[in-house]
């Protein structure tokens, strides 16, 4: 069977605007969460977030490009450039025919929607910028990545709320394994930290007013982040033939649906996804050294996620390390699995396990080894990345050191 490896990685998020900086911050256990810098922040009840501070689009794009790129597309393109550069691939010409893009986002160009609504409704203007539609479409980032690198195979976007990036990466993996492509750029992005985006989240009453503390007894909700992660997935022999540096192998993937509730997670659905990813990868639970948790910091997610891990891992649950890096980069919504893939690569490649920061006390319902507050140096052979979205859409990836 064809195998799939990762040969390039790039990211933009609140911790750093590149891979190296993000890994360094994760290893230090630094938080990117702080007071929101936004117009009208006084009208928000949620006043913290993990914003990409000091983002300078002009440093990365010409004026004509910026007119077409929402913030989520900007993050995606910068991350994609980093990933492709690291991979050393040249996909111009014929090579681009066997290469594609599949990205995840929950809300796409929500900043563009927000600004345009503000213009016509609040400011009474009667026209919006002519490129609003091509900027806001959920697939805009995938199209721009395809154009930037000449990728002319399958290119599309998937949207499954907070599991979007994991679904995207899982599909990219399956497509290469099935022989539909040799190379896929995959991951995802979100840029929902605008006034309307936060207003929408406020309503659900699941946001923390003071910080993201996954698995901690005193956790009180999620904190929103923004950013992108993009990875080069490549067929193993294709990567070997050109002498590429391989960061990790994508070993398995599974997706399940709870078919239960539009917001509440389910142990059963999450368990089936975890077990399915292990089975697809040919791994036993005991082979897995680290799980990058969905770990949103809400009461419900963390409790259900730990129960699901216990259900699948049995006795091995006592030995596996499980951390949520959302306490550092925030919940990047549809892009979150992509940013969290960075922690998975760091674990497999460098043996550095990113911590769950902000952990002040054990919740009996979350009493696993959550790598509280400080990173650890442990060599691991396989990792899982969990994503459990609103609407009961679960997507779990399994990766292996190579």
């Amino acid at each position: 069977m064809r195998r799939v490896v990762i040969t390039g990685a790039g990211t933009v998020n609140a911790l750093a605007q590149d891979l190296r900086g993000t890994m360094a911050a994760m290893a230090e256990g630094r938080s990117g969460i702080g007071p929101l810098q936004l117009p009208d922040v006084d009208r928000l009840s949620v006043k913290i977030g993990a914003q990409v501070a000091g983002w300078q689009p002009e440093a990365h794009f010409a004026r004509q490009e910026l007119a077409l790129c929402d913030r989520f597309t900007q993050f995606t393109l910068v991350a994609a450039r980093e990933a492709v550069a690291q991979s050393g691939l040249d996909l111009a010409g014929e090579a681009g025919l066997g290469a594609g893009v599949v990205l995840g986002t929950a809300a796409g160009g929500v900043t563009t929607w927000d600004e345009s609504y503000r213009a016509v409704y609040a400011e009474g203007k009667n026209r919006v910028h002519p490129f609003v539609v091509p900027k806001l479409m959920n697939s805009a980032a995938a199209s721009h990545v395809s154009m930037a690198f000449g990728l002319r195979g399958p290119v599309f976007t998937v949207s499954t709320a907070c599991a979007s990036s994991n679904h995207a990466m899982g599909l990219a993996f399956q497509m290469i394994r099935a022989g539909n492509a040799e190379v896929m750029l995959t991951g995802g992005a979100e840029a929902m930290l605008c006034f309307g985006g936060i207003k929408a989240w406020e309503g659900l009453r699941v946001m923390s007013p003071d910080g993201c503390r996954p698995f901690s007894a005193d956790r009180n909700g999620m904190v929103m982040g923004e950013g992108a992660g993009v990875f080069v997935f490549e067929e193993y022999d294709h990567a070997r033939a050109r002498g590429a540096v391989i960061l990790a192998e994508v070993a398995g993937f599974a997706m399940t649906s709870d078919a239960g509730d539009i917001v509440m997670p389910s142990v059963e659905g999450a368990s089936r996804a975890i077990a399915g990813a292990l089975r697809d990868a040919g791994l036993a639970a005991g082979d897995v050294g680290y799980i990058n948790a969905h770990g949103t910091g809400t009461a419900a997610n963390d409790r259900v996620e730990c129960a699901a891990v216990r259900a699948v891992f049995g006795a091995a649950a006592e030995r596996v390390m499980i951390s949520s890096t959302k306490a550092m980069h925030g919940h990047v919504i549809g892009g979150t699995g992509a940013v969290e893939m960075v922690a998975c690569l760091m674990a497999l490649r460098d043996g550095v396990i990113a911590p769950t920061i902000g952990h002040s006390g054990t919740d009996p319902d979350c009493a696993l080894d959550v790598v509280a507050n400080a990173a650890r140096q442990v060599r691991v052979g396989a990792v899982l990345s969990n994503a459990f979205a609103f609407g009961g859409l679960n997507a779990v990836l399994a990766l292996r050191r190579i």
Binding site: S45, G203, L204, R205, V206, M207, S208, P209, R219, N220, G221, I262, V263, M264, T298, A299, A300
Partner: protein, 84 residues
């Protein structure tokens, strides 16, 4: 105020207002977490107040959501605060 709050809760519980009394407990009326969030939103809109409520820790805001009567008392408190 009492009747408006009962009407809001009855609508969420899909019950006749006559079946909702101050003694009724919200859980017993069949109001789930989403129903609760929607009822709080309706109360905020009806009385122009902000209810301190975090679904992760329902007890934290000091807004007692145990029974219809406790909700009425809590809303009365917030409305009085606003007037003061």
């Amino acid at each position: 105020m009492r009747d408006r709050i009962i009407a809001i809760i009855a609508e969420q519980a899909v019950l006749d207002v006559a079946d909702v009394t101050p003694e009724s407990r919200l859980a017993e009326l069949g109001i789930d977490s989403l129903g609760l969030v929607e009822a709080i939103f309706a109360i905020e809109e009806a009385f122009d107040i902000s209810v301190p409520f975090n679904a992760n820790d329902p007890a934290a805001g000091g807004f007692d959501l145990t029974s219809v009567g406790s909700v009425i008392a809590a809303v009365e408190g917030l409305v009085a605060q606003k007037a003061a």
